[in-house]
């Protein structure tokens, strides 16, 4: 998932006594793992939270094309170029399924797009970091898609049917993305001195932004508590981050690369690694729009949308003319 700090109702989770009969019946279905479908009754807060979360995820897929698109024209072999194209195409496709899932909740793709372009809605902080050398294509697949999978696998069981089904499709493709990323890293780490330097540089820059993808610790967040109760969210941010670190450290060791964290150490007692937290000040700066690429990313999306207006208008006008001609002929 590429959603962070998704706001819920802003209130605590209601106790059974506080719920209306409809709300209680709804919560019973969630607790019994029965999927909620678009036409079912749902609390307004559930609907709004899902729109925020699915919308943010969809926007992340769309903006996420840009850092990888940055290297498609410089991919070093035909095969790498083809793989990267296939991956970016998948991402645009993920955006499409997710917008469709959001549409079942009564919000149109155009409305969500307007919210992205105006900056009212966010996308994942990770895509506000630059891709500076070819190994970044490896690091993005390995770490960024790796972190996304960590979040998305449990979301296949999320309570809202269309979202869960979209996740099942997306997860299949994401695991291919992660493997191709790791494959790039492997080539680079086993390559020339210059390639090793690129690989380590990419890891150094991507590590902490990847840890930020899970969002800040949510142990005190009312939003997270409500999302967990509604099974919009399945695990806490800290659980997922720990799982990600535990999975990734041996992979980095296998590559012969060094994770840029002096405090990284196996902890027998907890059965996981101790590790440094990312710089949360930096995270909040990025979320507020001050990341290295925020302005450029949003400008690129706005330009694509504005420059494309005549195309959308033209095709719409043609469809209308054709329909009118058909009616006239009948």
């Amino acid at each position: 998932m590429y959603a962070q700090m998704v706001k819920s109702t802003g209130e605590g989770v209601k106790s059974r006594d506080e719920m209306s009969p409809e709300e209680a019946a709804f919560q019973d279905r969630i607790d019994q793992d029965i999927k909620i479908e678009p036409k079912d009754w749902m609390p307004e807060g559930y609907r709004k939270t899902l729109i925020r979360q699915i919308g943010q995820h969809a926007h992340s897929e769309i903006v996420g094309q840009l850092p990888e698109g940055n290297w498609i024209t410089r991919a070093p072999t035909l095969e790498r170029k083809a793989i990267l194209l296939a991956k970016v195409q998948d991402e645009a496709g993920h955006g499409l399924y997710l917008y469709c899932a959001a549409e079942t909740l009564g919000v149109s793709r155009d409305e969500l797009t307007e919210d992205l372009l105006s900056g009212r809605m966010k996308y994942s902080s990770i895509f506000n970091y630059p891709t500076l050398n070819w190994a970044d294509m490896g690091a993005v697949g390995w770490l960024v898609d790796g972190a996304a999978i960590m979040n998305q696998v449990p979301l296949q069981r999320t309570s809202f049917g269309p979202y869960s089904r979209a996740m099942i499709r997306i997860c299949k493709e994401e695991s291919f993305h992660q493997r191709q990323g790791y494959d790039i890293m492997m080539k680079m780490a086993q390559g020339t001195e210059a390639q090793k330097k690129m690989a380590q540089d990419a890891l150094n820059r991507t590590w902490y932004p990847a840890l930020m993808m899970f969002g800040p610790s949510d142990k005190d967040s009312v939003h997270s508590a409500q999302s967990l109760a509604w099974k919009i969210k399945i695990d806490t941010n800290d659980e997922l981050r720990q799982r990600f670190v535990d999975q990734t450290v041996p992979q980095a060791e296998y590559l012969g690369l060094t994770i840029p964290d002096e405090n990284l150490k196996w902890n027998d007692e907890k059965g996981g690694y101790d590790f440094s937290q990312p710089d949360w000040e930096e995270f909040f700066d990025v979320v507020r729009g001050n990341g290295p690429c925020n302005v450029d990313r949003l400008a690129a999306r706005n330009k694509a949308w504005d420059d494309g207006a005549w195309v959308r208008d033209g095709l719409l006008a043609h469809a209308e003319k054709r329909a009118a001609r058909k009616t006239a002929a009948e």
Binding site: L78, A86, Q89, G191, A300, A304, G314, A317
Partner: protein
């Protein structure tokens, strides 16, 4: 060099250079469906490049790979039609360029299915499925935008006016083409022209667009005699990693 080698380069350089151009759109298309379609088109073209340049390298017999041919030749060794290397311009120009190429590409691939060279007919059999889809989409889009709003019509007419002088090169044979035709590898290029013109007229009529009267044709890409200034810039980007770090494996 053999006629087969030259022929494979001409096919493979067309798809490489056009595939690269289309890939420049990534993330910047007017609507999400177009981002997907453009990436898909670029992906197909790059896949076909692997086949054509792979066969070229095999025929050449110097132990080179498709990647060596794509990333380590300079502009004067490229054999793509000039049409393929022209800049994307706006979305209309990109789709018009695609349509003008796709119409030729499908006719060519269809003819190549009966090539006497089995390795060529095998590639054509595979590529025609993809190219037919590209043609269906580019034709529909050209018609849709030509017969859309006043603005979209004007932009499509401008795109056609700009690109049409690059169409003729696709049908002009030189000694290598004649040798390939004689060997039964490829059709006579001039024989494709009537069918192409008929298809173009039908599409442009549906799109309410006017085909320029002047049949002047820019040439020099397929023979390598003179490319446009645009190709060199594309190669600086495409070939940069291979050139900056020679011998590395990616």
């Amino acid at each position: 060099m053999s006629a087969l080698f030259e022929f494979c380069l001409r096919m493979g350089d067309n798809t490489l250079v056009l595939g690269h151009r289309v890939s420049e759109w990534c993330g910047h298309a007017p609507v999400l469906e177009e981002d997907i379609a453009l990436a898909n088109t670029a992906l197909d073209l790059i896949g076909q490049t692997q086949l054509w340049l792979g066969l070229a390298a095999e025929v050449q017999g110097e132990g080179k790979s498709a990647d060596d041919l794509a990333f380590l030749r300079d502009a004067w060794d490229f054999r793509n039609a000039l049409l393929c290397e022209l800049p994307n311009g706006d979305f209309g120009q990109t789709l018009m360029r695609q349509y003008l190429f796709d119409e030729w590409h499908c006719m060519m691939l269809n003819a190549l299915r009966s090539s006497t060279e089995k390795r060529v007919s095998d590639i054509a059999d595979k590529a025609i499925k993809e190219a037919s889809y590209h043609l269906e989409r580019s034709r529909d889009t050209v018609i849709g935008l030509g017969d859309g709003t006043t603005e979209s019509h004007a932009r499509m007419q401008a795109a056609l006016d700009y690109l049409y002088p690059y169409v003729g090169e696709l049908f002009v044979a030189d000694g290598h083409d004649e040798a390939a035709t004689k060997a039964g590898i490829a059709p006579d290029l001039a024989s494709l022209r009537d069918g192409y013109d008929a298809a173009l007229s039908a599409t442009m009529a549906a799109a309410m667009l006017t085909i320029p009267d002047d049949k002047f044709a820019h040439k020099g890409g397929r023979t390598g005699r003179m490319h446009t200034e645009h190709l060199g810039h594309m190669l600086t980007q495409m070939q940069w990693l291979q050139r900056a770090y020679p011998g590395a494996s990616w």
